[in-house]
């Protein structure tokens, strides 16, 4: 069944950013028709579906100022950013925090800690000497945000992932979506789209082999990256990989951002610290890599030196918020926070990309606008604001809701597509091809293949040969396996779309890594063949976009001039990879075989390439 709808704004993805977009768009103009699409359920979708324990990076005076956010992001991105976007985020943090308290119905000092003067009390985490982390008791955040969105009167289509962003004359004009429970299709004509689909977090497969064993919410399979790309948007920092230190196999946050500000740190079996701070930037990842490369893993989260009261506080947060199954997991593995070498961590088990945790995504400006008129981005799919975590998703999600509302109010109705129903039927036919296929490849098998190749070939340290291989594999699976894939129902059909996104994003990661011919961001873009930063790449993005011929193109783009003079480098060094493996077996002068092989040549001449069938089982009569 096909449904055609009309909207002013379509919000794709109702995680933290998308829900705030809907709330803020309604504030600008309650008469606007807003449609919210989510492949999941708004109340529980996304990384914060079961709550969140902190806003990792926020500017809240008097403890921190917007300039402190600029300082941090300038440093951890090593100068590859638009500082104005970072500053704008810092400016709107107080508004976002106050709004969140109001939306969740939580008074001051309840949702967030405050000091004796009533100021939000921030903690130190990041590698600058400013406190920017605001703890949060936010278990019910998503359900509260969903309730607020419903109160706006927006039309909410859940279990209905967007499949395409449609453009006309280079401008946004519609969105195609499909319900995975009913198989109904929706074409929504719209003036603007807020793209808030989260990270590409279902990329490299962790060694557990469990497909849904991801750090990011598994629904975040890079669909937004792929849809924006196909709509003509530009993406940046796709070579700055996310490679986290996580609970081994569980893949939940370790959680350095809960435990580290409260005194925990990461050690190896010899009690050596992996790095000086627990923030997940490229320098600290180099420290974790080093321990494994030296054969000095595994690594652990050390908490046994903390007072019992603090350990219980960490347990309450870790087991009651965000990834609550951590408690059950620890119990099953007999892991105890009171023992030094107990809570095992894994490093870089799943290579992916993300704006909020790293820097990768659709390029946006200070309004969250992309190069495609009418397309706005925020949250983990946004490459314009790096490493802003949940705070960035909430604040900038709200901002793009406002901006999209202003934009939609100022443009005419989108042009009517001629032959819309016929086009929809044609699209649906193509999308549903795997449903009609019999004896095809199961979706899980193809996803397994794609994600193991991503992990093997893209994992740093990188070199051009590995990156070329990764791109080759993405294309091979696209050409050979997708035409053979079979889906058993509409839920499974979504997997086909997600695998396509994984392949597109995997190719972006490979091509961007090839194009940036230097190393930067510590482990995140470490080219073993070029293990140093090059001044030619200072303040310069790699921009990925679809070329006129449909092929992926990479180009250089200078980021805007800095307005604030802060350090553009982290403290680390790329190691020289020269391992002494000792003297090899030395061949003596007698160690010599003839140049030709007349014995095998005779067989070849006699038999050709066939194999004689000499001893064969007899068939009983």
């Amino acid at each position: 069944m096909y449904h055609v709808k009309q909207a002013d704004i379509v919000i794709i993805g109702s995680g933290a950013a998308g829900t705030m977009s809907a709330i803020y768009a309604h504030r600008v103009d309650p008469k606007l028709k807003v449609v919210v699409l989510d492949k999941s359920k708004m109340d529980s979708s996304g990384g914060a579906g079961r709550g969140m324990d902190a806003l990792n990076t926020v500017a809240l005076p008097p403890y921190s100022q917007p300039e402190d956010v600029v300082e941090l992001l300038t440093k951890v991105t090593e100068g590859i950013l638009d500082q104005k976007v970072a500053h704008r985020f810092g400016e709107i943090c107080p508004r976002m925090v106050a709004d969140l308290e109001q939306i969740m119905g939580r008074g001051k000092g309840d949702l967030f800690p405050v000091d004796a003067d009533g100021n939000y009390k921030l903690m130190y985490l990041q590698p600058i000497n400013k406190p920017l982390l605001l703890p949060m008791d936010g278990e019910e955040m998503k359900r509260a945000l969903a309730h607020a969105v419903r109160q706006t009167g927006a039309e909410i289509l859940e279990r209905t992932p967007a499949l395409r962003i449609i453009t006309e004359g280079g401008k946004v004009c519609g969105v195609l979506a499909m319900n995975i429970r009913t198989g109904h299709y929706y074409y929504i004509k719209t003036k603007a789209v807020c793209l808030t689909t989260g990270a590409a977090g279902r990329m490299g497969l962790a060694s557990s082999g469990y497909l849904a064993g991801t750090y990011e919410f598994p629904g975040c399979s890079g669909d937004g990256y792929a849809m924006a790309y196909e709509a003509g948007a530009e993406l940046v920092n796709m070579e700055c990989f996310q490679a986290n230190t996580l609970l081994k196999d569980h893949q939940g946050p370790s959680c350095g951002y809960v435990a580290a500000p409260r005194g925990a740190y990461t050690i190896n079996p010899w009690n050596e610290r992996t790095w000086s701070h627990g923030y997940s930037s490229g320098d600290s990842k180099m420290g974790a890599w080093k321990k494994f490369a030296e054969g000095k893993g595994p690594i652990y989260l050390k908490m046994d030196h903390l007072p019992e009261e603090m350990i219980q506080i960490i347990e309450k947060i870790q087991w009651g918020n965000e990834r609550t199954s951590r408690g059950l997991f620890h119990k099953g593995r007999k892991q105890d926070y009171r023992q030094a070498h107990s809570v095992e961590l894994a490093f870089a088990e799943e290579i992916g990309v993300c704006g909020g945790h790293s820097s990768s995504g659709v390029l946006s400006d200070v309004q969250g606008a992309t190069n495609v008129p009418g397309l706005y981005v925020a949250g983990d799919v946004d490459g314009g604001l790096p490493q802003s975590y949940l705070g960035g998703a909430l604040a900038m999600g709200g901002l793009i809701g406002e901006e999209a509302a202003h934009f939609a109010g100022g443009v005419a109705e989108p042009p009517q597509r001629s032959g819309l129903k016929a086009w929809l039927r044609q699209e649906a036919q193509a999308i549903e091809e795997p449903l009609r296929r019999e004896g095809g490849l199961p979706t899980s098998l193809v996803e397994y293949k794609a994600r193991t190749r991503v992990q093997y070939y893209l994992k740093p340290p990188k070199n051009p040969a590995f990156m070329e291989k990764a791109a080759w594999w993405m294309e091979r699976i696209r050409q050979e396996d997708l035409p053979r894939i079979q889906a058993v129902d509409f839920h499974d059909l979504l997997k086909v779309q997600e695998i396509k996104s994984i392949l597109t994003v995997g190719e972006m990661m490979a091509r961007a890594s090839l194009f940036r011919d230097e190393s930067r961001w510590g482990y995140q873009h470490w080219r073993a063949d070029l293990p140093a930063k090059s001044p030619e790449w200072d303040r310069t993005w790699v921009v990925i976009k679809q070329g006129a011929d449909g092929r992926m193109e990479a180009s250089k783009r200078l980021a805007p001039e800095y307005e604030w003079d802060y350090p553009t480098a982290m403290e680390y060094a790329y190691p020289e990879l020269k391992f002494d493996t000792g003297p090899m077996f030395e061949k003596g002068p007698e160690w010599k075989n003839p140049a030709g092989d007349p014995w095998m040549k005779a067989h070849l001449d006699d038999q050709g390439m066939s194999t004689p069938r000499r001893f064969m089982p007899k068939v009983e009569d």
Partner: protein, 80 residues
């Protein structure tokens, strides 16, 4: 029945969620709230893990059940 890699499993086979049918009133809140669309109505209208291997072990279902009828008994086999 659930389908994993083309193999059909019974509703309770290899499930790491336990649904207490004495407590469950088949209200469907867990089916509605599961973020990965894992839970569906099965035999006699009770919820079960139809798409078991999409489970993110997020614990939403146990938290939102108004009757405390669901228990996350373990994390998925491959990560436990």
């Amino acid at each position: 029945m659930s389908v994993v890699n083309g193999v059909r499993y019974g509703e309770k086979d290899f499930s790491w969620l336990d649904f207490d049918h004495d407590r469950c009133v088949r209200c469907g809140i867990c089916v509605d709230m599961c973020p990965m669309d894992v839970l569906h109505f099965g035999e006699h209208g009770y919820p079960y893990m139809r798409y078991r291997d999409d489970c993110w072990y997020c614990d939403v279902c146990t938290f939102v059940c108004p009757r405390q009828a669901i228990t996350l008994t373990d994390v998925p086999y491959l990560i436990r």
